[in-house]
């Protein structure tokens, strides 16, 4: 009682409500993935003892959100709608952080975990409108429509991609945050073009946007891809790889470049078809200045990684 009064006063959801909502989200995601949720799995998802998880489930049953049928836990329509709202709020908030904040990618999930309990359906409606009704969160998970079903992301695990097959990354799992942070650093994000170069027992050699990276099995396990029937030829590479004095044509901006950053680069003229030349590097090593449409623009290496260029044809390199 005191806690709920407190939560009313501070505007912060009570811990009991947070637990209920987290449990509902877990149940919905398990069911959507075709798995059977159990008391143990709920306990694991909430990080509590099984006794506590059972109490939360009993509470949810009393609130007509879940039903137990033949030993299996399923959601009622009310529970489903509630769970969908939580998942929708979570994924939209991640998209919001990606688009219009400076919060680093590895912290999106933790921020959204708190925001999902705070956002009302009206907040969520306003948010999706402001973001232009996005279909996927920045990890590649589909954002469920207000009353629609929660569907798992599609795509095959990167483990199963044959060597030399070009594919597009469709999903990068955001938990655990450490593994996700490493994947972000290597440039893996939904939309990146990858090709398996070699497959060893403990490591996977991968081309990502023209750069060679090595992934550990744990990292590989967290990436899903969709094979491309007609891969772009030649595959675009990153502007950061362009040597000083060379020119190239912009192929586009990487999908990992979002929000203000993306608009700024577009404003500066980094649009498909523009010819740019790497002019000079700062004496401190970064940034590099590029000649774009008669202007000299300095980009940091982290930004130049987000600009994709057509690799120069071999004969042009020979003459320059």
């Amino acid at each position: 009682m005191i806690q709920s009064v407190l939560s009313r006063l501070t505007g912060r959801p009570s811990s009991a409500r947070v637990e209920r909502e987290d449990a509902l989200r877990h149940l919905q995601l398990m069911l959507a993935g075709g798995h059977d949720p159990t008391v143990q799995s709920v306990a694991g998802a909430l990080g509590v003892a099984p006794d506590r998880a059972a109490a939360v489930l009993a509470d949810l049953e009393r609130r007509e959100c879940v039903v137990f049928q033949a030993g299996r836990v399923t959601l009622t329509p009310t529970g489903q709608a509630y769970a969908t709202h939580i998942i929708r709020a979570h994924r939209l908030w991640e998209q919001h952080l990606a688009q219009s904040s400076g919060v680093p990618p590895e912290q999106w999930h933790a921020h959204a975990d708190r925001a999902e309990h705070r956002l009302s359906p009206d907040d969520v409606a306003a948010l999706t409108e402001r973001l232009g009704n996005p279909t996927h969160d920045p990890h590649g998970d589909p954002i469920p429509p207000p009353h629609g079903a929660v569907v798992p992301h599609h795509g095959m695990p990167l483990d199963e991609l044959p060597v030399d097959q070009t594919a597009r990354v469709t999903h990068v799992e955001d938990e655990p945050a450490m593994v996700f942070a490493e994947l972000v650093m290597l440039g893996l994000y939904p939309g990146a073009i990858v090709r398996v170069v070699e497959r060893g027992p403990h490591a996977l050699g991968l081309w990502v946007d023209g750069e060679h990276v090595t992934l550990t099995p744990l990292m590989v396990h967290n990436v899903s891809v969709a094979p491309l029937a007609a891969p772009p030829a030649p595959a675009p590479v990153r502007l950061s790889a362009l040597p000083i004095g060379r020119s190239a044509t912009v192929a586009g901006l990487s999908p990992a470049c979002r929000g203000t950053e993306r608009r700024r680069l577009l404003d500066l003229g980094f649009v498909p078809g523009t010819v740019i030349t790497a002019e000079m590097v700062s004496p401190s090593g970064d940034p590099t200045a590029y000649a774009v449409r008669g202007a000299l623009i300095a980009l940091r290496r982290t930004q130049a990684r987000h600009v994709l260029i057509q690799p120069a044809p071999p004969e042009a390199e020979a003459t320059s």
Partner: protein, 493 residues
Amino acid sequence: MNDHPANPALPRRAAGASPAAAAADAVLATAQALREQIGGEFHDRLAETIYGEAGRLADRAVTRPGAARRFDLDRAVDRIVTSRTWGFPLMIAIFALVFWVTIVGANVPSAMIASLLIDTLHPMLHRGADAVGLPWWLSGFLLDGVYLATAWVISVMLPPMAIFFPFFTLLEDLGYLPRMAFNLDNLFQKSGAHGKQALTMMMGYGCNAAGVVATRIIDSPRERLIAIITNNFSLCNGRWPTQILIASLFVGGVASPAVASVVSAGAVVGVALLGVLFTFGVSWALSRTVLKGEVSTFSLELPPYRPPRILQTLYTSLIDRTLYVLWRAVVWAAPAGAVIWLVANVHVGGLSIAERAIGALDPLGWVIGLNGVILVAYIIAIPANEIVIPTVLMLTALSVRSVAGMGAGPGVMFEADGAQVLAMLRAGGWTLLTGINLMLFSLLHNPCSTTIHTIYRETGSARWTAVATFLPLSLAFVVCAATAAAWRWLGLG
């Protein structure tokens, strides 16, 4: 409380759907499928296509005769200005020259203005007031308080700014300053800041208020706030005199006379460099804590070199920067002068307000290695750092009555030559620790009220203004208290 089954605001849907609802579901499902088919990036595709098309039209219709040659010349200059060998030495040389010209060039006009406004006009006004028969408290309030503080600020502030700002604007106009940001960006990037902060820091050495206004060149919200909050750590020209005086009296006094001037100059440069270190450290901490969620982008255009338009530059830098900042400072200094005179002359129970405040703040002053006089001076001299030292001297003369013949009366700020000042300050209980901590406090303490007001105007946020004010102030207290504690623990004083 939560007696509803779930969230009451969620619309519930009947379990058994009617044919109409089924049809609606089919429409929604089709819409969803279409949306997935289009994909989430069509906004971007649209924007890219528009930009791309505009570029193609421009390429077809616009010719730029002679542009290529200009471009080549610019690149040749750039290769020197941003080269690994010459980039940094050139930068240091240019700014050493600007500072040297400012300091040397400002001495003469500063002394002239001071002798006119303070040594000649001030006594004249007093004689005039006596002749008209103004009561002592009115002439004291107006002439010793309001007039003297304003005259002081003008004489210290105007000449350096009138030299420094035009130089700065010339370099800006020429196109050199963006190259400097380009050279230094990596350093700032590592502390989460923008290369252009190098320019706003430089501006801050002239005046922090002008430095804060100059952060408009940084178009990324997070980096701009960092530049605003840390600009205070660039010693402004109102604080240089304090540093130089205290360094020569206390730090230089410790060394043997032969090297005294070198040691005291080294101490001032050391404090300025410490300010740079604090800028990087605080930038780093801010970008990883309170400012983490702010949007951050980087863009730096290196414009073509242009021959500077000297007259126009002189005009705009005088009007836009020098007079603007000076006017603000005067507006703040006049009331401060009034307050300074009042606290020294209004008596409560036999003691002036100033003496009571000094007594009350002395214990706190001791903890941070300063004294009550300095703290009171910093409180009433918030409007302008220029009048801190004159106020300190006046308050010391007021509280140390044993020093006969010093001072110009209660509430009248003054300056005196080195030996006299040193004798008086020592009588007031000053030690080497007091000197060092005053230098640290002067570097780190809160910005002056002109700057605080400017920060509020630029950020439009009371919260960031409060951070920019109290963060440096608490840093100053912590650093000074730590220095004092270490000093006493080591048994140095």
